[in-house]
Amino acid sequence: MSPTILITIISLSLLALISAVILYFVAQKFKVHEDPRIDEIQAVLPAANCGGCGFAGCRNFAEALVNADTFEGLNCPVGGAEVMDMAAKILGKEAPVVDPLVAVLLCNGTPEYRPRTSKYDGASDCRISHNLYIGETDCSYGCLGNDDCVRACSFDAMYMDTATELPVIIDDKCVACGACMKACPRNLIELRKKAKKDRKIYVACSNCDKGGPARKACKLACIACNKCFKVCEFGAIVIENNLAYIDAKKCTFCRKCVTECPTNSIIELNFPPRKPKVEVQTETVNG
C-alpha cells in the first residue's frame, strides 16, 4: 500500500472522529426537549391538517392536547370520539363526550321554487357574486351556487347537484371540519348535531325578510308564520328575524313541524316513509 493512500485514510478518519466528538457535545448542549407524547398523539391523529379543530394542523393540535390541563374545548371532529379516546389514553386523561356534528345547507332554493331572475356570467366565485349583487335570484340570503364550499371541502364530502344548483353534503364523508362554513359568504352552512341513522329535521332557509318578499323570491322560504313554534311540544323552535330555527339538541324528531309548515321550508331527511294515513303534500327535496 502506497503511503499516500495510508495518509489519506488516517487523516480522514481522524477528521471524522474529531467532527463526531464536536457534534456530540453540540447536540448535548443545544438539545431541544420535546415531549415524546406529542409524537405519539400525532401518530394517532388523522393527519388531515384540515383545521377543523381550530389549530393550524394536526401537530399543533397534538401540542395543545399535551399542554392542556383538560380536554375541555379540544376536539378533533375528523377522528371523533375514537381518536380522542386514544389520545386521552396516552395522556392518562378523560376525553369529554362531544356530539358528532354534520354540515347541513340552510337553503333549499332550487330553480323550480326559486326562479332565476338574472344570469350571472362573471367569475365563478360566490365571494365575488355576493359582493357584486344579490345573485341570480331575488333572494339576498340564499345559495349563490358557485361552489365555493365544494372547493373548500378536502374530504370529498360535497358536490354540486346540477339539477338543483345546490351543493349536496354526503353525510358519511362529512367530518364537520367547518371549512365549507367558513367559505360560504352568506353563512348558509350550519354544523348540526348528528342523530341516529343520519336523521335530520331543520329549517332549510336563511331568509330574514318578512313573509311577503321572502315568499315572492322563493316558494320554499320560511315566512315566520309561527305555526311550527306553536306545534312544537319540546320548545325546540325559536323564531328570530323572521326566521324559524330548530335546536337540534332539543328536537325529538316527532316531525310535527314538518307537516305543519305551510311553505315546506322545514325538511326531514333519512326517515322511513310516513304511513299513508297522513297525507304527504309534497315531496321533500333532498338537499
Binding site: D121, N131, Y133, I134, S140
Partner: protein, 444 residues
C-alpha cells in the same frame, strides 16, 4: 402633438351614438323613489314623514356627518311611504316614495333662463351652498363636492382641473352639456376657482369632441384664467390621476390624493350643477343621462329628475329591444349590469346602455399565457394577473403589498386579456377584502 398620460391605457371602440342628440327633458313620472344614499359617505337622514307634501327642490333627507350629502325632492307631491327599495346591486336601501302632484318648485329657485354671470357669494358661502344643494361629483364617483372644495390646513392648491374627457365609450352626457350649456359650465368653473381661491383652471377634453373643444375655447376668451386643452383619446383618461398626469405632468403618488400635488379635479357636469346651485339657487335633483344601445329605436340624452325609474328612460328611448341581453348602469367599462329596470336614476347615473345578446355574453375563461398585456394596459403600473391570482388564492397580505388598493377598477386589464380571464372580478374582491382588513387593523 396632443397630450395624454404615458403609462398604459386602451382604445375601445367609441360608439358615441348619441353625440348629436340634443338633450331632451324626460317627462316627470307619476311616482318617484328617491334613495337617501346617492353618494359616497354616510346615508342622509330622512326628515320628511309619510303624508307630507313636498315641493320640488325641498330637502327630504339631510346631511349626516361631513362626508355625506343632502337629498332633495325632485318632484312636488305627497310622500307615499318611506321604505326600502332594491338598488342597483339588488340589495335593499332606504328610499322616499313620492306620488307626484303637479310640479311646484320651492320659491327660492330662480327658474328664468337668463344666464347670471356675476359671482356674488364669497368662497365660504359657495362651499356652504354646495353642501346645502347636495352637490356631488357627477362624473360617476358621487363624492360630495363640498369635501373636495374644503382644502385641509397645510395643503396648497394652485390649479383647478375640469374633467370634460368623458373617456367611457357610448356616454355623451358631458359632451352634450358642454355644447349646450357651455357658458353656464364656464361660470361654474369660475365659481369653483373662487371657492378654491386659485386663479387658473384647465379644462381637459378628449380630441374626439372637436365641436365641444371649439365651442368652449371660443367662450373661454371671456373668462380670466380658464384654458381649454385638447387631449389625445385614450381610456382611462377621465380618471383623476391620469388626467392630472396628462394635463400638467404631475404624478400623484400611490395612496395620495390630487390635493397632494396641488390640484383639484371636478367634472364638467359638477361645474354645471355648481352654477345652478350658486347662481340659480337650484339644488341637485336633475341630471343629464345618456340612454343608448345599438338596437334602441331612439337613443338620446335627457335631463332626468332623480328618482325616475330607469324603465321610463327606456320607454322614452323607444322601448326595450327584443334582443337586449344586458342593461348596464354607467359606462360600458366601469358600469354595472342591473337586474331590475325599476330602480331609480340617482345623482351618479351618467348613462344607461342596452347591449344586445351577442355583445353581452362573456367568453369562456382560458388559462393565463403570461403575455403581460394586462400589465401594459394598466395605467397605474400594477400587475393585474398577479393580483388576480393572489385574490383567488386568498393571499391578501401579499396583495396589499402589491398595491391592490391603488386599483381604480377601470377594467382595462380585463378588456385587453386575450384569455378572457376575469381579472377585475378578482381584483375587486381582493381590494374590498384588503380595505376591510386595513380598517380592522386600524380599529385595534
Amino acid at each position: 402633438m396632443l397630450k395624454t398620460f404615458p403609462l398604459g391605457g386602451i382604445h375601445p371602440p367609441e360608439n358615441k351614438l348619441t353625440a348629436n342628440m340634443v338633450i331632451g327633458y324626460l317627462p316627470i313620472p307619476e311616482n318617484v323613489t328617491i334613495p337617501v344614499s346617492q353618494h359616497i359617505g354616510a346615508p342622509a337622514t330622512t326628515i320628511v314623514n309619510k303624508g307630507d307634501y313636498v315641493k320640488t327642490g325641498q330637502v327630504i333627507a339631510s346631511i349626516k356627518g361631513f362626508v355625506s350629502s343632502n337629498i332633495h325632492s325632485s318632484v312636488s307631491g305627497k310622500v307615499n311611504k318611506i321604505d326600502t327599495i332594491i338598488d342597483t346591486t339588488g340589495y335593499k336601501q332606504e328610499a322616499v316614495f313620492i306620488d307626484v302632484e303637479g310640479d311646484e318648485w320651492i320659491e327660492t329657485i330662480d327658474r328664468s333662463s337668463e344666464i347670471v354671470t356675476e359671482i356674488k357669494l364669497s368662497s365660504e358661502k359657495i362651499i356652504k351652498r354646495c353642501l346645502e344643494s347636495g352637490i356631488v361629483g357627477l362624473g360617476g364617483a358621487t363624492f360630495p363636492s363640498h369635501v373636495k372644495l374644503t382644502v385641509p390646513a397645510g395643503k396648497k392648491i394652485d390649479l383647478l382641473i375640469i374633467n370634460g374627457v368623458e373617456c367611457e365609450p357610448y356616454l355623451t352626457s358631458d359632451h352634450r352639456l358642454m355644447l349646450e350649456r357651455g357658458e353656464e359650465i364656464l361660470i361654474g368653473v369660475a365659481i369653483l376657482m373662487k371657492a378654491l381661491k386659485v386663479d387658473s383652471a384647465k379644462v381637459g377634453i378628449e380630441n374626439n369632441k372637436p365641436d365641444a373643444i371649439d365651442h368652449l375655447t371660443k367662450l373661454a376668451t371671456g373668462f380670466k384664467g380658464i384654458t381649454i386643452h385638447a387631449l389625445k383619446v385614450k381610456y382611462p383618461q377621465g380618471a383623476e390621476k391620469q388626467l392630472i398626469k396628462a394635463l400638467i405632468n404631475r404624478e400623484v403618488p400611490s395612496g395620495h390624493l390630487p390635493l397632494d400635488v396641488g390640484a383639484v379635479v371636478h367634472n364638467v357636469g359638477t361645474a354645471y350643477a355648481v352654477y345652478e346651485a350658486v347662481q340659480k339657487n337650484k339644488p341637485l335633483f336633475e341630471r343629464v343621462v345618456t340612454i343608448t344601445g345599438k338596437s334602441l329605436a331612439l337613443p338620446g340624452n335627457f335631463f332626468v329628475r332623480t328618482g325616475t325609474p330607469i324603465r321610463k328612460l327606456i320607454e322614452a328611448a323607444g322601448g326595450m329591444p327584443d334582443d337586449t341581453g344586458k342593461i348596464v348602469n354607467g359606462g360600458p367599462m366601469m358600469g354595472k349590469a342591473i337586474n331590475n329596470i325599476d330602480i331609480p336614476v340617482v345623482k351618479g347615473t351618467s348613462g344607461i346602455i342596452l347591449f344586445p345578446h351577442n355583445e353581452s355574453e362573456r367568453s369562456e375563461i382560458n388559462p393565463c399565457i403570461r403575455c403581460a398585456k394586462c400589465i401594459s394596459a394598466c395605467a397605474l403600473n400594477l400587475e393585474p394577473f398577479l393580483l388576480m391570482t393572489l385574490s383567488e388564492k386568498g393571499l391578501f397580505e401579499r396583495a396589499e403589498k402589491e398595491r391592490i388598493t391603488d386599483c381604480m377598477e377601470c377594467g382595462s386589464c380585463s378588456y385587453t386579456c386575450p384569455a378572457d380571464r376575469p381579472l377585475l372580478d378578482y381584483i375587486r374582491l381582493g381590494k374590498s377584502t384588503v380595505i376591510k382588513m386595513a380598517r380592522e387593523r386600524n380599529m385595534k
